[in-house]
Symmetry: C2
Subunit: 340 residues, 2 copies
Amino acid sequence: MKFEAVTIKHIAMELGLSTSTVSRALRDSHEISQATKKIVLDHAQKVGFKPNRIAQSLKERKSLSIGVIVCEIANSFFSQVINGIDSVAYEHGYNVIIAQSMESAERELMNLEYLTSSSIDGLIISVSTETKNFSYLKKLHERGLPIVFVDRVIDDIETHKVIADNYRGAYKATKHLVERGYKKIAILSNNSGLSISQERLEGYRDALKDANIPLRENMIAYCDHGGMIYSEIESAMKMLLKQRVKPDAVFAGSDKITTGCLRFMKQKNIRTPQDLALIGFSNTDLTELLNPPLSVIKQPAFEMGQASASLLLSLIESKKPQNKFETRIQSTELLIRKST
Amino acid sequence: MKFEAVTIKHIAMELGLSTSTVSRALRDSHEISQATKKIVLDHAQKVGFKPNRIAQSLKERKSLSIGVIVCEIANSFFSQVINGIDSVAYEHGYNVIIAQSMESAERELMNLEYLTSSSIDGLIISVSTETKNFSYLKKLHERGLPIVFVDRVIDDIETHKVIADNYRGAYKATKHLVERGYKKIAILSNNSGLSISQERLEGYRDALKDANIPLRENMIAYCDHGGMIYSEIESAMKMLLKQRVKPDAVFAGSDKITTGCLRFMKQKNIRTPQDLALIGFSNTDLTELLNPPLSVIKQPAFEMGQASASLLLSLIESKKPQNKFETRIQSTELLIRKST
DNA sequence: GTATTTACCGGGAACGATTGCGTAAATAAA
DNA sequence: TTTATTTACGCAATCGTTCCCGGTAAATAC
């Protein structure tokens, strides 16, 4: 079953004109008389003509659509980022094609192959926790595919990048814990390979150092799948809690980890913040309704999406190959509530 | 700046073959000798040939992509639905193009025009709260565009529909409130024009009737934008609470309204459930971590997405125009927690 | 009255992949 | 050896648009 669309050819036939004339009339070319233009436009309007974007894409060698790969849509941070991307793309007449890696390198690669088979003009990607091999991405980039990294970036590939100020965010969060009198501050980090993890860990380290609190390596735990599977949060927390010196506060490195951590504490009847304080990166707008209301570091997700989209569009629409790239660092917000 | 892809023509040239031979070899046609096939395949592999999907689409008159219009991605219910759609579409080699109406009829129409300019093979839509005029959608459907409605459906258009069992969900929720001893049960409904609102209201009505509790019209309030703007929840709640007979429980008709309601109660220092009980439709996985843990009716969002995608694909891939359509009603789950 | 410009429009070749048809060579059947 | 059949490939049209060449008439210039 298919959708029979009216084409330029039909209009040409019905009006006794050539396709070139119709095309030009529709594109308001100076080579066509006002009279003819009016006839064509009116008729096109009447029969509901819509140019076939596929044909245009083939001819113009661009698809007017951009691909977005994130780990998961059902994650407040990424859905807000997508929102931002969408708003900019839409304004410029671009489609957004979204793919989810689900934190799997394999799915990410498949998405990548899929999106790039000549059907996208550019790509915005936040790499999965699993991704270790960036050669395919690199090859695409070398072959000229415009790419913008958002949130989780790769140093190896030189292009525009948009990130939150993870270092300062983590620093502020840790400093806040210190100021509240916590001394044994653990960090529940995302996968250690991720840029965001490293930056956040660095902020945590420096904040402790500046407060003259010695860093204990066993206060650092990792969730290799970014908290995608609850059990990894569970075991990481168990590990932290069975140390000789138990932590009195936890700093969680991602949205999923933060809420997962709270879930764990609820299950184990660990009171927050009396037994264990909690702060973490999170973008859900429900954090203040939680029990207890969570102190969080919030990223400007929507704005990050907007920024990455406009950077990507500038890459796509620039005639010459670009060689000056920027990394936009957008500041985070520390929201202090009851959990610390 | 563009991405120079290798085409079938390049391969043909380099191998001294015709494009037809190359094409056929790649598609494993029986008309090509094994030897030639191997040569072509190896060379294609070497140069990283990927067929141009745009050209294929033009030729085959299908784009292998489906459009999805929802009000907002950053909404747990819809992001889960999209997840389900994505999983099925992906398996069948289809792209998913997502557009957000933001509950605006105007944006919805623009998205519709945009997606359907020959670039999607089918559409899954959950109409916006604002949409009153379905003529454009109807025209598209009549012209043969396969459409599946999910969640918010339109009776006028005969096609596959996937909904949650809103009636029974609302009935169960209301009955639960009754069983807990609440007598003055208010409902904070979504826009009255929406199918889901009507079904949920019906369930609420019947549950009250079956419990011999008289229905008070002033216990019914509407949020015309589905809670998209907080102030409408606020004023609806204020209206309910300034009645002579104040409600002792509220049943909220959507995810945004449910959490918005809780937010309102927090702000006004209304204790839950002591002062006012709360139950509502919601799909966020944070409800049990809220204060208090919320009793909710949860919809099988992921499964609804899967169902709508497979129904859509069956429409797209069926040769003949379909005339037998089904409405899949998927059951909801009542999760009882502390708020009631 | 001829030359040149302008205004308008049609023909046809792309874009990349697919496919019906035609045909040479190779093989089988007569 | 002749005819029929199969094998293996090329030619060219097609999908819907766009755009480079032209071409023809009228309008203007010389």
